[in-house]
Structure formats: structure tokens, C-alpha cells
Symmetry: C2
Subunit: 383 residues, 2 copies
């Protein structure tokens, strides 16, 4: 990992002098977020636990009729904790243990809603195309050991937990799904949201394991605001973000697993564009580190067979509806990003920019319906 | 203008050392574009004419069955050339003269398709809410003096010209539109594309002058590829880019007029996201400079009446479907950006990422149709 840049923002701040960095920051990242004071107990826990801890504030204007609706979100990115050759149960428990430590730190930071990375209980082994042992990591969304583990944390810390796992659906022929389980701060399973768009790119055709989700664009009304989960590859599909937003989401989480060469220049663009286009907050979470697999595999890129498929670059961040964003977490280390949001900023930005009022959705509903027809003819003007 | 940063990229390259700037560039801007050699005659013309000239190359892989489909696009950003109090005709002719110089330089750079900024024949006076003299800048798209001027240039230089003007539509009750006229390299008017989404924000309610366009999402088959024009505020609407793309656009031009405080942090995000999401090239063009108006006006922001509404920050750039982009033109000077594209990159990227294959448009057509109903109920899960 020694060759990896640790953080883009660190480089910018380290080299660009004071009078220019402010303008550079404004153009690149919008209005600068405030710094959130974090308690010593959390800072010490991060230092002891060897994970990065950062806190920011994204503010809204004061209104007369609504109080500020302050929510603290926690984004957790982490490496796998054991070799991928260890017994499945030990791999899972090691991750549970890691997450328990980080969620405890989040609770001391006052986090209300925490979201983990995609398929967080396992290595992202779908590149291997092997079924065993990877499908053994799948669990019931309603009563698997990971959901039970999260329910305990949720109750203990009064925290909403978004737990993206590989789901085994026994009620529908024992199939697998890529699913985020949403657990209320009461400990109840509020529901689940399945990955809507499945990649066939690079090392992956994830449809070897699970198909396109069938849970639509559900939004979860929690004690801390209306939230939705757009898993990984759904990030590339503007209509996916849009439908979560039209169902009322104020914060859309995007738990992901994506590597440098493929997607890193897309990473700062897509979730942020979604926050802007939909007048909501978006939280982009990526795993971190490089995962090695015992059996080699190929990637359809003309290169030799290999044992890993690249560096997960972390860089988790939060975007606000006004186009501003926080710096990202590290590209190489585990991390917890705590961001205090005022949800009033969603409606304030909507009232300012009016994208949903000027969106002409009836026109697009008609055009989109035409596009889906097999005999659709593009509207092309020729000389 | 002395307080304005001239160029974000200049600051980055000026301060960040060699070993780090490459990684910073990759993360921020994707694969670095090649530098296009420009002829001395163009360099001299730019120097004499006091406009910036930059050239880049965005490459594609070599294929067996298709030759590279190389196109050079030219993006022109410019200040108005006279005081806004000068006679209308003189303002228009001064801009014609300026553009003639810059298009001539573009022709020596081998530009095949050139696009000017939004409402390029006039100051962007819609902030004033006055009708005269501003509506006098409106012209027929088919046979106004500006279209005739562009037809001459098109024939002379064998160049496709996209000319965004304020249109007077005599055939439909003499109404106004915000319209891009597309002129073939043969000199024929190929057609027109009207602004689909009209802002009501900040200094503007542009619907005081013209309403939402009725030309849909036409794509123009030119000798140099299939192109479309998404005017200004349509940039914020992902569905707008999407429909141009579904009609076959390989390059979508976005002639704009937008100022710093309002939108600058959105500027690098939206057109680039559109290139990524739709597997096409996008060309974002913004005017430059500050325009002063004789009569003061207010902006609904609690501030005093004033005579200008801020700094147009230029920064025109081109994005490629693979997520890479060129640096932007200056934030303060007139400029011509020449970019050589290989259109084969569109299909290559589409075949790699498959967003249109994984897009599930039938699902969205249904959902969008539901959203437009007055009795639509968001899908919200409650405990």
C-alpha cells in the first residue's frame, strides 16, 4: 500500500497556499463544511483502534416555522480483518468485532444513523466466480446472525443501522440477493432494500451470484429522517437516485465496493451529482484495502491470472444538496466519518433551485415509455 | 476582475509537485488527455486577438472493423464586446466580429464543429426584467442576420456551427424562445433545439421572456457525428441529458451563462456526470466576464439593488464517456478550446460499463408515470 496516495485533500491542503486554497476548495468542493468537535473518548478509541476519525458540519439557514433538523450520520469504511482463507465464521466474527469497536466510537460522537460498506461481513469475492465458500456468507435479512448483531448495537446505542449484506432468501427458493437491512434505533428490522442495478464489468458479473433487486425504491421513515439505500452500481444510474428522492428520501446512502483503476475518477462525481440533482444528502461509502484470494482468476482484460483485483480506495464522503461536500476519508485506512446535517437544507435547496418543479416529468414519462418499446425510433434530424 | 482566480488547473499544477500531481490529476480528472499541437497561425491569432487557445486529445482504443472517428470540436467563450448601452445593432455586430475572428482561428485548428455560448449575440440581460431593448436582440432561427452570418462561416470553413440565440418565432404568434440553431457544414440550417428547462432562481425568472422548449430531444446527424444541444439550465436535469443520449447523441453541447456564487461548484460535476452516465461526450460552455446594466435591479436576496449580477466564470471544458475531462478554459478571459475526440470511445465505454443495458428503463417508465399522477403516494416504510 506504500505506493498509494493517502488522501487527495491532504495533498491539496499541504501544497496550495492559504490565499488560493480557499478559492480552489470553493470551486472543487463548494461551501466549506464546518469542523465538528469530537469527544476525546472517540479520538482515543480511533487512535487505539487504528482507524481515521473525521467530523464535519453541513449547515442550513434558520427558518421561522421549523427548527433545525439536526442528524449525525456515520460512514464506516474498513478492511477485511482476516485472510480470506480463514473459516467463514471466523471471518464474519472478526468483522463483527471490528465494526462493534467503530460503532461504539460513533455512538460517543452522537451518531444517529450509521451505514457500513457493501457486503460488509465478507471479502468482495464475486470476482472469483467461485460459489463456495463465498455463498456461505449469505444470511437471512430478518434473522441472520449479522442482523441480530446489528439489532443489539441499534438498541444499545439508540442508532439506526444500515447493514448491507449478502442475503439468503429462504422464502423464495433459497436465492441470494445483495441487500441492505435497515434496522431502527428501537432494534426492530424496519425493512430491506435490494441492489437495483447489477454490474457486468471488469472482474465482475455479479449476476453470477444475485440478480437485479425487486424491492423498488423504498424509503424508510426513521426517528432521524427519511432515508434510502442505493447500493453500489446503482450509483451510476441517475434514475435510481431520482426515484429514491421522489419517494421522499432526505439522505441516500450508497454503500459500495469499487477499485481505483476502474472508477476512482467517477467516485467524486456521481453521488455528488445525485445530491445536487435531487435536493438531498448523499453518503458514498467505499471499502478500503486490497483483498487476496487463494485461487487465481482472470478479468477479461488480456492480463495474466491474479489473486486480487485492485485497491479499494476508501474515500467515503458526504454531499449536500447545495453542491458542497465533505473531504473524503483516507484512501488506505479504515475510517469513521461523522457528519452533522441539517435536513432543512433539502427543502431550502429545492425551493431555491426548483429542479422538481422544472423537471417536466410528464414529458419524460412519455418519452421513457417510448424508449422501452422494441420499435422505438430515435429522433434524428438529417440534412 | 483582479480578484478572480484565473484557472483552477493552473493553481494545481503550479503548486503540487510532479510525483503527486499525476495522482491528483487522475483522481480529480481521470485519464490525462493528450496535448493537441496547434498551428502557429492559430497561436498568433489568439495572441493578437487576446483570447486563450488550448488544445487536447481524448483518445479511444483501436478497433478492427471501425476506423477511428476523429472529430475536432471547438468551444468558444467570450465577453460582450461593447457597453450594454450601445445601440442593439452595434452590440450584435461587435459580437459577430469577435466570433468571426475566433472561428477563423478554430478553422486553422481543424475544428469540425464549433459551439458558442448561450444567447451569444447579446448581454445576458434577463436579470433586469426589462423587455426593451433586450427583446430586440431576438431573431428568426431560420433567416435572421445571425443565422445568415453563421451560414457564411459554415460554408467558408466547412464547419458545423451551433449558434444559441434568442429566437423570435413569427410563425407562432411572435413569441420568444431560447434556441440553438444548428447549421450544417454545407451552410444549410439543419434545425433548432430549444431550451427545455427554464430557471426560476437567483436573478432570473427567464420565463418572463421565454417558456419551456417544445422541440423535444432532437439529435442532429452531421457529417462529423450525431450531436445534440442541451441549453444551460437543462444541465441540472439528468433526464434531459439522458433523452438526448437515447436519441443517439454522441456529443451533447451545453451552451450556458452562469455565475460564480450560484453554481461554480456544480459546474465541474453535472456535465461530467452526464458524459459518464450516458456514455457520450459533453461540452460545457460558459460565458465569461461581468456585464453591467444601466438600470439597477434586485435579486430577491435581501441585498441592495445593483447593476450586475456577478462574474461569469468561463471554465468551459469537455468530458469524455470514460470519466476523463480536459482542463477548463480561463475563469476570466475569452477562449477557444479545441478538443480532438474519437467518437468510437462512446460505444467502447458503453460496451464496458453497460449502463443502458443495466438501466431497467421499463421499471422507471412505470415509476415515473406514477410519480406524475396527482395522487402519487411515495413508497415509505414506517415502523
Amino acid at each position: 500500500m506504500s505506493g498509494e496516495l493517502e488522501s487527495l485533500e491532504q495533498v491539496l491542503q499541504g501544497h496550495i497556499p492559504g490565499q488560493e486554497i480557499k478559492e480552489v476548495w470553493r470551486i472543487l468542493y463548494g461551501k466549506e463544511p464546518g469542523i465538528l468537535d469530537l469527544p476525546d473518548v472517540a479520538v482515543n478509541a480511533a487512535s487505539q483502534g487504528q482507524f481515521e476519525l473525521k467530523g464535519f458540519i453541513l449547515e442550513a439557514a434558520t427558518e421561522q416555522l421549523r427548527r433545525p433538523r439536526i442528524v449525525r450520520v456515520g460512514l464506516i469504511q474498513n478492511k477485511i480483518q482476516t485472510a480470506t482463507t480463514e473459516p467463514v465464521v471466523e471471518q464474519i466474527y472478526a468483522l463483527h468485532k471490528r465494526i462493534a469497536t467503530m460503532v461504539e466510537a460513533a455512538s460517543t460522537c452522537g451518531v444517529n444513523i450509521v451505514c457500513f460498506q457493501e457486503a460488509w461481513t465478507m471479502p468482495f469475492a464475486f470476482c472469483t466466480r467461485e460459489k463456495l465458500p463465498w455463498t456461505e456468507f449469505a444470511e437471512s435479512a430478518e434473522n441472520g446472525i449479522t442482523t441480530k448483531f446489528c439489532q443489539e448495537l441499534a438498541r444499545k446505542y439508540n442508532m439506526v443501522i444500515i447493514s448491507p449484506i449478502l442475503e439468503r432468501d429462504e422464502s423464495h427458493g433459497d436465492v441470494l440477493w445483495n441487500t441492505a437491512v435497515v434496522i431502527s434505533n428501537t432494534g426492530a428490522v424496519l425493512g430491506k432494500s435490494r441492489k437495483n442495478h447489477i454490474p457486468r464489468i471488469g472482474d465482475f458479473n455479479e449476476s453470477s451470484y444475485y440478480m437485479e433487486g425487486n424491492t423498488g425504491h423504498k424509503v424508510f421513515q426513521t426517528a432521524f429522517g427519511k432515508i434510502a439505500v442505493n447500493i453500489c452500481y446503482g450509483r451510476h444510474h441517475p434514475l435510481n437516485w431520482f426515484m429514491y428522492s421522489m419517494n421522499g428520501a432526505e439522505i441516500i446512502f450508497n454503500p459500495s465496493a469499487t477499485v481505483g483503476e476502474l472508477s476512482e475518477s467517477l467516485w467524486p462525481i456521481e453521488a455528488r451529482n445525485a445530491a445536487i440533482a435531487n435536493h438531498c444528502f448523499t453518503c458514498a461509502i467505499n471499502r478500503v484495502g486490497t483483498e487476496h484470494f487463494e485461487n487465481e482468476f482472470t478479468s477479461g482484460d488480456g492480463k495474466k491470472a491474479h489473486h486480487d483485483f485492485g485497491h479499494f480506495y476508501g474515500s467515503s464522503y458526504v454531499s449536500a444538496p447545495d453542491g458542497s461536500r465533505t473531504p473524503g476519508l483516507s484512501r488506505v485506512n479504515d475510517g469513521l466519518l461523522v457528519v452533522e446535517l441539517d435536513l432543512n437544507l433539502c427543502r431550502q435547496t429545492s425551493d431555491k433551485w426548483n429542479f422538481k418543479m422544472t423537471g417536466r416529468y410528464e414529458m419524460y414519462a412519455e418519452e421513457l415509455a417510448r424508449v422501452t418499446k422494441a420499435d422505438f425510433q430515435p429522433d434524428i434530424v438529417r440534412e
